[in-house]
Amino acid sequence: MDFNDTPDEAEFRAEANAFLSQHLKPKTPGALRSGGREDFLERAKAWQKTKAEGGFAQITWPKEMGGRGGTVMQQVIWGQEEAKFDAPTGPFAIGLGMCVPTVIAFGSDEHKKRYVQKALMGEEIWCQLFSEPAAGSDVAGLKTKAVKDGDEWVINGQKVWTSGAHYSDYGILLVRTDPNVPKHKGLTMFIVDMKQKGVDVRPIHQASGGKEFNEVYFTDVRIPDSDRLGEPGMGWKVALVTLMNERLAVGGSPGPDWKEIMDYARSAGTLSDQAFRAKLADWYVAAQGYKLTKFRTQTALSRGETPGPENAIGKIINANHLQDICNSAIEMQDHFGLIVDKDEAPSDAIFQESFMWAPGLRIAGGTDEILKNIIAERVLGLPQDVRVDKDKTFAEMN
């Protein structure tokens, strides 16, 4: 047992780190978003281009696609190293991690020529249009419909929770093309130009006060049949490929952890409180459990094995853990804990800010409950939930 890289891994890590040092500054809190949204987007595009030119853009993609032709382990190492620097990566994560791989898997040669290189070079940004107001966890129950009209499809409906829709050039869009078959069988995937007529992006005002996501409305949007990904009715299979491409998360937990609350408690003089100390121990053990479980996954990757759905435990642990830590920190501050003004609140109001973000984290990308279902069904082999719509057509159920 050891935590060391193999010689090959160490060599790649050094190479990655040298490249990053040459182009970026080491991570400093708050530095990344200091210039406002537009500026951030420009820097993200520039960094993506630099990465692509240096051969670090898509580690696992084949060379002919503009990738590095490397291993999943190298991708993990790259992620670990990149996280040590102020790298503006966010806007490209969904596109390059999920959307463009779907285009590569199902698109025509034309599509690949037209889209892959531009995405890789940071010139075009992609978003993913799956969720709807009435189709979250049950995304296959979506209602946005596409009707064939000559060589085109006419799209009407609404998507929701679309990250980055307001600055995206293209999206992959999952719609219903046949309501007269069971829900999974009547879906089709398309490439959609986000700047075209009839596509209306409206920011969602979140409970936390921020506006990171969007609603996207489609009114008589026309898409040529040639921009279809996969056969009509095959959309669900295509979507599963998209979701499988979700990268192995390599970041830490988003927001304050046991260390931050311990530092705060020390400064506040509450570190000697026995009840707090017991909770602190639990938080540490959970954070370590998550971190070390990732090391076990990495070990499997390092041997060329494929990790299973066991990784679903990460988000369950982290999101609940974050909510609990922030809640405790606020209560520790008593009445003063209400204050969100960064100049007044302890620790630059990081606990208050994450307190309002945590509920979303327990929902986004699979709710706690859905993740537990995934563990129960795919890891433990328990029966699926009752699905009363299973053998009924979509039209019968709606």
Partner: protein
């Protein structure tokens, strides 16, 4: 990154599992449970001794197999899975490790070979009453080379031939080793909620004892012994917790209510998923403890504490919710659920309760992040 056991260690695990599933069945555990006169299962013990497992982490020069701590961790997990009703932990995790870290060359040469071949069964005698043992409150005394006082409960105290005993003397607290067969020692079985592992009250009345390590260094040495034993106990706990999840999972798939397997209901699915998450957290923390133990890392105190806290929580949760998943059947003597529930509690409070370990963990973090 190689955060896993080696192929050889996995081979040992598979062999140990095969052997124990055949030779240490529920019937072997229940033979001890249902017979008050039995302190352990002698057949199982004999076979385990013959396998040489007691000496897995004892160097060859002292008659052991000289494998290492990782191999002992592997064995511990397997023993935990089958609820082995034997004094293995007392002898191999506590007594042998105490000798290894604090014994003189002469003591090691005299006793370790006998631990390895099973002719000496060791135990550790610390507790004297309810609550965490506090240095100032110790009543057992060492004076002129003999000890007097009462230790209760001592796990495996009625089977053991020797005990490491925490005592008070002129220089503070010290550890001593006492031969339990001498006339100054009386032993009475004490009933506990875990009858498959025996416990005793041991009274010392001017019993001869030899110092283990420096006089006055008892509490610090006990901490070191407990850190090492904690990792091994965590593996036993992990084995038990894994088995509870397997049992609950098997039952949930076969038990039918309202026309379908109860495992199809979200309340059960999510309960089992919660068990799974806690068990994975415990496994990862236990592996880290194993790494720290086997590499003599400076991180051992917090790694051991985290392993212990995570494993105690996982086993507690898995053992109680395993009963719950089995419904009324889970509350019958004949179904094994309660055996795990009992063992989980023993392993959680032996060598310090979860609260004690949480405090140790936070103290270590505090010192480190000052």
């Amino acid at each position: 990154m190689n955060f896993d056991f080696s192929d050889d260690q996995k081979f040992l695990r598979d062999e140990a599992r095969k052997f124990l599933e055949a030779q240490c069945t529920s019937a072997h555990v229940r033979a001890v449970l249902d017979d008050d006169s039995k302190s352990h299962n002698e057949d199982v013990w004999k076979q385990i001794v013959e396998m040489g497992w007691l000496g897995a982490a004892i160097p060859e020069e002292y008659g052991g197999l000289g494998l290492g701590m990782l191999e002992l961790c592997v064995i511990a997990e397997e023993l935990g899975r089958v609820l082995a009703p034997v004094p293995f932990g007392s002898s191999a995790y506590f007594f042998a490790e105490a000798l290894k870290i604090a014994g003189s060359d002469e003591q090691k040469a005299r006793m370790l070979p006998n631990v390895a071949d099973g002719s000496l069964i060791g135990c550790i005698a610390v507790s004297e009453g309810p609550g965490e043992i506090k240095a100032g409150a110790l009543a057992t005394r060492l004076k002129d080379g003999v000890i007097s006082g009462k230790k209760i409960p001592v796990t495996d105290g009625d089977i053991a031939t020797h005990a490491v005993v925490l005592v008070k003397d002129g220089s503070g607290e010290s550890l001593v080793i006492a031969d339990l067969s001498q006339s100054g020692v009386t032993r009475e079985p004490v009933k506990t909620l875990e009858p498959t592992r025996s416990h005793a009250t041991i009274s010392f009345d001017g019993a001869a004892a030899e110092l283990l390590g420096e006089a006055g260094n008892g509490m610090a040495l006990l901490d070191q012994i407990n850190d090492r034993a904690a990792v091994l106990l965590a593996f036993e706990q992990l084995g038990g917790a894994s088995r509870c999840l397997e049992m609950a999972n098997e039952y949930a798939k076969e038990r039918v209510a309202f026309g379908r397997a109860i495992g199809g209901n979200q309340a059960i699915k999510h309960k089992l998923a919660d068990m799974y998450v806690k068990n994975e957290v415990a496994r990862s923390n236990a592996y880290y403890g194993a790494w720290a133990l086997s590499s003599d890392a400076a991180e051992l105190p917090e790694a051991a504490a985290a392993a212990r806290v995570a494993a105690s929580e996982a086993y507690w949760f898995a053992s109680k919710e395993n009963i719950q998943t089995h419904g009324g059947m889970g509350f019958t003597w004949e179904v094994d659920c309660h055996l795990f529930y009992r063992r989980a509690k023993l392993l959680a409070v032996q060598a310090g309760s979860p609260a004690v370990w949480k405090e140790k963990l936070v103290s270590a973090l505090e010192a480190k992040n000052d």
